[in-house]
Every structure is written in structure tokens, then in C-alpha cells.
């Protein structure tokens, strides 16, 4: 039986008034800039904005004909899947383990939360130092093991580098949510399963994990958005999108064309494309994946 949860207001304007502050914020900080981006994407301007022409869809058509832009879709897809997949798996593992730690649990948790305090660009630099082909400590170890690490010329190495830095930077955030999720699962459920003879592995998959799916789903959405938007600092610091265009993810190109190359129209067109992709992905996630989530 569905219970009627709706609150009924006597005045028609009261609910509007109550949501007004929220609406204003959304309009000013989200819809207005988004509208600006769409408007900008239809223009061609010189850098200083002294001559502006309306060019319609030309900026978009140009992207469509740019092979390297189309290739960066593949790069972005690979990067996002790797970042979200690895990030979620690793942080879930860490959370499950931290949840079982009895002694000095807070100490472990604090350590695991630290990386989140590091800005993406700094994370990129830190990992770059460790893997710098000639002076990096990790690349030195790899060379001792007979592995020639060179992310300056090997696209695979470069991709691995930015994935590691991005995952490391985001792991704390995921960890916090997973840990909170795990701790909110009633102990009695797990104990009951244990009494029924379920081992730790089985208890995790049949009791804890299903109850964690809302958290996991939320984090999946957040991580995809993170990989799409917030990683350009890491890419810029670690690889500049190279070698070639092997790590030039979409958002990096938006940043480069807009802020380095001063091509505002082209950059705006790319942000609009990116916006459409992320909206589509989020809709898909809510439509299909959410159905498998137990609240």
C-alpha cells in the first residue's frame, strides 16, 4: 500500500517561496553559465573579443571533422572506465578492511583520507616525480626489474600514470562513503548470517554488498563525473595530453583550447558536447543501473 506522502499547502505561492533560494542558486550558478557556454559556442571571436561573428553550428561541425577530437572520445571512455572501475574497487576493498580493523582504526582511517586534501594538479606532479623516466624513484625500481618506463613516448605508460594519479586522488572520497555505508549496516544482520554458517566472503557478497548498492551507485555517478571534469589538472601537470594525443581526454582539450590557445568558441562548443554526454550518461545510470539498486 502506497502511503500518501505529499504535503498539501493552502497557498499556492508558499511552496514556490520556500524553494526560491534553491532555485535562484541553481539558475544563477548552473543554468546561466551553461546558457553562456551554449551562446559562446555559436560564435567565432578573436582573443580579446574585439570582433565577434555568429557562425551557427560551425564550431560543432569542425569538431565533427577533427579526427583527433573523435579519437579523444575513445581515450576519455577508456580513462573514465579505468578511473571509476579501479577507484571504486580499491576503495571498497580498503573500506571493508578498515571496517574490520579493531585497534587504531581511526589512525588508519585518517591516513586513508589524506590524499583527498591534495589538489589534482599537485597529485599529478607528485606522481610525475615518482615516475619521471630519469630521476623518478618508481621508474628507477622498474628499470632495476628490467622494465623500461617512459611515459614521454609510450602512450600506454602515460595513460597508466594519469589513471594512477586520478584514482589515488579520488580514493579517499570513495572510501569515506563506503565506510559510512558499511557502518550503517546493522550488526545483527551480519551476525545472523554468521550463525547460519556464512563465511566472511559470502557474508560480504550476500549481505553487505547488496546493502551497499545505493552508496556504490551514488559513487559511480560521482566518479564518472570526476573522471570527465576534474582530472584536467592531473593531465596538464603529468602529461600535457601526450605523447601525441594519447592522454588528451575531452576536458583537457576544453581547458587547453580555451585557456592556453584562447579559442573561446571552439572551447565552448566542446564544453557543450561534454555537458550533453554527461547528462546522457547520468540519465542512463539513473534509468537502468538504479533499477538494480536496493534502497
Amino acid at each position: 500500500m502506497a502511503v500518501e506522502k505529499r504535503v498539501r499547502f493552502k497557498n499556492w505561492w508558499l511552496p514556490w517561496l520556500l524553494v526560491a533560494p534553491q532555485l535562484v542558486i541553481v539558475l544563477v550558478f548552473f543554468f546561466w553559465p551553461a546558457g553562456q557556454a551554449i551562446y559562446q559556442s555559436l560564435l567565432t571571436e578573436d582573443a580579446f573579443g574585439t570582433s565577434t561573428q555568429f557562425v551557427g553550428a560551425e564550431n560543432f561541425l569542425r569538431l565533427w571533422h577533427d579526427e583527433s577530437y573523435l579519437a579523444s572520445f575513445k581515450t576519455t571512455a577508456l580513462f573514465s572506465v579505468l578511473v571509476a572501475g579501479l577507484g571504486l574497487t580499491l576503495s571498497l576493498m580498503l573500506a571493508v578492511m578498515a571496517d574490520r580493523v579493531v585497534r587504531a582504526a581511526n589512525f588508519y582511517k585518517t591516513l586513508l583520507i589524506w590524499p583527498y586534501a591534495v589538489a589534482p594538479a599537485v597529485a599529478g606532479v607528485v606522481w610525475l616525480f615518482m615516475f619521471a623516466p630519469s630521476i623518478g624513484i618508481v621508474s628507477f625500481w622498474l628499470r632495476v626489474l628490467g622494465f623500461d618506463w617512459n611515459h614521454l613516448l609510450d602512450g600506454g605508460h602515460a595513460m597508466a600514470l594519469i589513471v594512477m594519479a586520478s584514482v589515488w586522488n579520488q580514493i579517499s572520497y570513495n572510501f569515506l562513503f563506503f565506510l559510512a555505508g558499511l557502518q550503517s549496516i546493522p550488526k545483527s544482520l551480519i551476525e545472523a548470517a554468521a550463525i547460519d554458517g556464512a563465511g566472511p566472503w559470502r557474508r560480504f557478497w550476500t549481505v553487505q554488498f547488496p546493502l551497499l548498492t545505493p552508496t556504490a551507485f551514488f559513487l559511480l555517478v560521482i566518479n564518472i563525473i570526476y573522471a570527465f571534469f576534474h582530472t584536467f589538472g592531473i593531465v596538464d601537470a603529468a602529461t600535457h595530453g601526450g605523447p601525441g594525443k594519447d592522454t588528451a581526454i575531452l576536458v583537457y582539450k576544453v581547458y587547453f583550447d580555451g585557456f592556453k590557445a584562447l579559442d573561446l568558441g571552439g572551447s565552448a562548443a566542446q564544453s557543450v558536447v561534454l555537458m550533453v554526454i554527461v547528462i546522457a550518461l547520468t540519465v542512463v545510470q539513473f534509468r537502468y543501473i538504479e533499477k538494480r539498486v536496493n534502497y
Binding site: 567565432t44 571571436e45 578573436d46 582573443a47 580579446f48 573579443g49 574585439t50 570582433s51 561573428q53 569542425r62 577533427d66 583527433s68 630519469s134 630521476i135 614521454l152 613516448l153 609510450d154 602512450g155 600535457h240 595530453g241 601526450g242 605523447p243 601525441g244 594525443k245 587547453f256 583550447d257 585557456f259 592556453k260 590557445a261 584562447l262 579559442d263
Partner: protein, 436 residues
């Protein structure tokens, strides 16, 4: 309330007293960090102490592209600085933005100051001069690519440290000897587009782009996929395969590997001299940029890098007077000679060069005159410099394609052809966006 009134009265009093000593303050945005930042501050200080009417305030705004982005945002908001330092690849963009800038010749004329562009080194002045012959910005810090080498490493490899290789075949030979003596990075390069394609073209008296490298108009197109260019890039790719040339990344990333002693030879900016002198723990030398001896006309001259100072538009008349006075101060040969000796940037006027030579600086610091000799020559139409729109993107494209070549994914010809094709699209767009 009383306090406020008091303060207001005081303010009014000072305002009344002020006109006699009113100083016009102007903002100068620049991109010189570290030791070079101190140099810029000293330039402003020297000017401010010399006279009382004007005050220049230098503001460090990050790297060249960052300060340009900041200035563009400021211009759109109506708060642009009076003077902006712009790197050479931004020159075409600035020239095309007629509404945003005020040509230096005009600023000087209105300021009542005699200004003769002819005193500048031709390759320097020519670069900042518009097709109609008007000088648009004031040359400030100009550099050119030279060949840096580690004398200690040369000795260890059995190469005469006083005779650096001058041709590319000699570079390959020296690199092989360095490798045989156990050197992990015999040769590397900074700014690969600038050193291996742009300067390479001028040095061999061939065009990097049509229409005299963009000097004659915006309908220029790239021309660096000739057999000579392909031969050079192929040569470097082979050296890369044999471990003689080690790629160290985009921009000036390779500079640090030379200063640390990791790489023994480097083609990079002449302005690296100051840093090498201060930080390198080995004896170093500077040679001319290598060339191919069988190419007629080589070596010609190299092209400039570095930056110039632009006066932004829409300011008050007295502020332009201040800008003119400051530019006049910077044009003083004595000031320029001191700057040249301090930084390794070029002496931008022939007189500054003469003063430095007379002082015996070049004899005491061998190699510092290499950049000057490379630049102070009669230039040809193909070697005056390279001025292209969307140059930042074109350089990024060249970086991307060259990485594919060094990594063995593309042949030299494929890489250069692709870079030309993609770069030409950028030129077409620039032409379109700026035709109005």
C-alpha cells in the same frame, strides 16, 4: 562619525597638496619568475628612482600564456594593465587585435619622445613590425636557440671540448662517442618546434610557412614538410632509436636535464645561460646551432624567441605618457647592455652590443656572443622570423606529431605532413576569425 569627518578632511587636505607631486602609476604585467623576476623588478626600480612623475609597478602574472589569458580577461572586464609582456608566439594574436592595443610608435609619438626603430637589431625589430612598416611593440627580452654542451662530458668521451660540433653529422658522431663513454643522454632538445623546425628553417634559409613565414598576411600556410625538413626529422628519429637523442618532453623540460648534467648536449634558448652559469656543476660551453653543410645558404641566421612589451588600449593620456617615458628608459643602450650581460637575452640594439663588446664581457665569458652572432646578420625574406596566428595550437600540434615520430609510431614524412595539415586548419581559422 567624528573620526570619519576627520579622515575626510585629512584626505581633502592631501588631495589639495598632492598636484605638485602627483605620480601617475602604471601597471606592468610580466611572466618573469625567479632570477629573471628580480631583473624585471630592478628595471622598474631603476626607472622609478630616476624620475618623480611616474611610477611603474611590475606584477608577476604567471607563465607567458597565463599572463596573456589574465590580460585578455582583464581587457574584457575593462581593467587591462598598461603594459603587457607577450611571448613571441602571441605576437600575431596581439597584432590582429587592433582594438586592444596601441602601437609603440604611436605611444612614443604622443608622448613626445623620439623613437627610432632602426637602432634595433633587424631580426628583432622586423619581428614586431606590422606589414605596413609600423613597429607595434617594444622588444624587451629576446633570445635565440643555441647549442649548449657539457665540456666535462666531452673530455670524458675524448672529444675536444673547445671545438663543439657545428653540423648535424658531427653532432651524431659526438653523440655516439658520448654514448660509448657511458652517457645515458648524449643529446636532447627544448622547444622542439622552435629549435628543430622554426629556427632550423631560417638557419637553412628555407621557409617554415609561406608568405614569408606569415609576415605578408594571414593567408599564410605551413611549409615545413620539404625533403630537407623530412631529412632532419628522420635523422633525429634515427638518433632517438639508437639512444643518441633522448626526448625529454615538451616546452623547456629538457633544460633541467642539461643543467643537472644528465644530458650532455642540448639545443635550447640562449637565455638558459644564466641558469647554467649559476647552477651547473660542470664546465659548459655554447656553440652555434648545428646545420647541414651541403645545404646552400646555410647557416643563415636564427629566429627570435622571448617576448616584447605591448601598450594596451583605452587608458588615460597621462598614463600613456608614463608608458612612453618608461619605454624610453628601457631603450637606453646602457640599460640594455646591462640586461644582456645579466640574463643571456640578446642585446636588442646594435649599440648595446657594441658597449658590451667594448667592456670585454665576451672575452671573459666565452660563448655569450654566439647568440648575438647568430642574430646580428643580414636577414633574408625567409629568415626574418615566423609570425603565425594560433601559433600556440600549431606548436602543440607539432609537439604531438613529433612525439609520434620519436616513439616510432609515424615516419618523419607522415608526422610532418600531418602536422602541416592540422596546422593549416588553425591558420585558416585564424584568418577567418580576424578578417573583420
Amino acid at each position: 562619525m567624528n573620526m570619519k569627518l576627520h579622515a575626510a578632511a585629512l584626505l581633502a587636505l592631501t588631495a589639495l597638496a598632492a598636484p605638485a607631486t602627483a605620480q601617475t602609476e602604471i601597471q606592468w604585467w610580466h611572466s618573469m619568475g625567479g632570477a629573471l623576476g628580480e631583473w624585471v623588478n630592478d628595471q622598474a626600480k631603476g626607472f622609478n628612482e630616476k624620475q618623480k612623475d611616474y611610477k611603474v609597478t611590475p606584477v608577476f602574472k604567471g607563465s607567458y600564456d597565463e599572463s596573456m589569458t589574465a590580460a585578455i580577461a582583464a581587457f574584457r572586464a575593462g581593467t587591462a594593465p598598461n603594459i603587457l609582456q607577450v611571448f613571441e608566439v602571441g605576437t600575431a594574436t596581439m597584432m590582429a587585435s587592433k582594438g586592444a592595443i596601441k602601437p609603440v610608435t604611436q605611444v612614443m609619438k604622443e608622448g613626445g619622445i623620439k623613437f627610432d626603430p632602426k637602432v634595433y637589431v633587424p631580426a628583432v625589430a622586423g619581428y614586431y613590425t606590422a606589414p605596413n612598416g609600423e613597429m607595434m611593440s617594444l622588444p624587451f627580452n629576446s633570445s635565440t636557440p643555441v647549442f649548449h654542451y657539457n665540456k666535462d662530458a666531452f673530455k670524458a668521451a675524448g672529444i675536444d671540448p673547445e671545438r663543439p660540433p657545428t653540423t648535424w653529422p658531427e653532432v651524431a658522431l659526438a653523440a655516439a662517442k658520448l654514448k660509448a663513454s657511458g652517457h645515458k643522454c648524449p643529446f636532447s632538445t627544448s622547444w622542439q618546434s622552435w629549435t628543430q623546425l622554426e629556427s632550423f628553417s631560417a638557419w637553412h634559409n628555407v621557409e617554415f610557412a609561406t608568405k614569408r613565414n606569415g609576415f605578408l598576411g594571414m593567408d599564410t600556410r605551413l611549409a615545413f614538410n620539404t625533403p630537407l625538413h623530412v631529412r632532419h626529422i628522420e635523422n633525429l628519429a634515427n638518433m632517438s632509436k639508437q639512444g643518441l637523442f633522448v626526448y625529454k618532453g615538451r616546452g623547456n623540460a629538457a633544460d633541467a636535464t642539461f643543467v643537472s648534467g644528465e644530458c650532455a648536449m642540448l639545443t635550447g634558448s640562449s637565455a638558459l645561460y644564466g641558469s647554467v652559469k649559476r647552477n651547473a656543476k660542470f664546465a659548459s660551453g655554447i656553440g652555434t646551432l648545428p646545420y647541414y653543410p651541403d645545404v646552400p645558404g646555410a647557416p643563415q641566421n636564427t629566429v627570435i624567441g622571448g617576448a616584447s612589451l605591448w601598450a594596451m588600449s583605452g587608458k588615460k593620456p597621462e598614463e600613456y605618457k608614463a608608458v612612453a617615458a618608461f619605454f624610453n628608459y628601457l631603450s637606453d643602450p646602457q640599460v640594455q647592455a646591462v640586461s644582456h650581460q645579466r640574463t643571456g637575452y640578446l642585446p636588442i640594439t646594435t649599440e648595446a652590443f657594441a658597449i658590451t663588446e667594448k667592456s670585454g664581457f665576451y672575452k671573459q665569458n666565452p660563448g655569450t656572443d654566439v647568440s648575438v652572432n647568430q642574430m646580428i646578420r643580414k636577414v633574408t625574406d625567409k629568415s626574418r622570423g615566423i609570425r603565425l596566428g594560433n601559433f600556440v595550437q600549431i606548436r602543440a600540434i607539432i609537439d604531438e606529431e613529433m612525439e609520434q615520430v620519436w616513439g616510432g609510431k609515424k615516419s618523419a614524412k607522415e608526422g610532418l605532413d600531418a602536422a602541416k595539415k592540422r596546422g593549416d586548419e588553425q591558420l585558416e581559422r585564424f584568418e577567418k576569425a580576424n578578417k573583420g
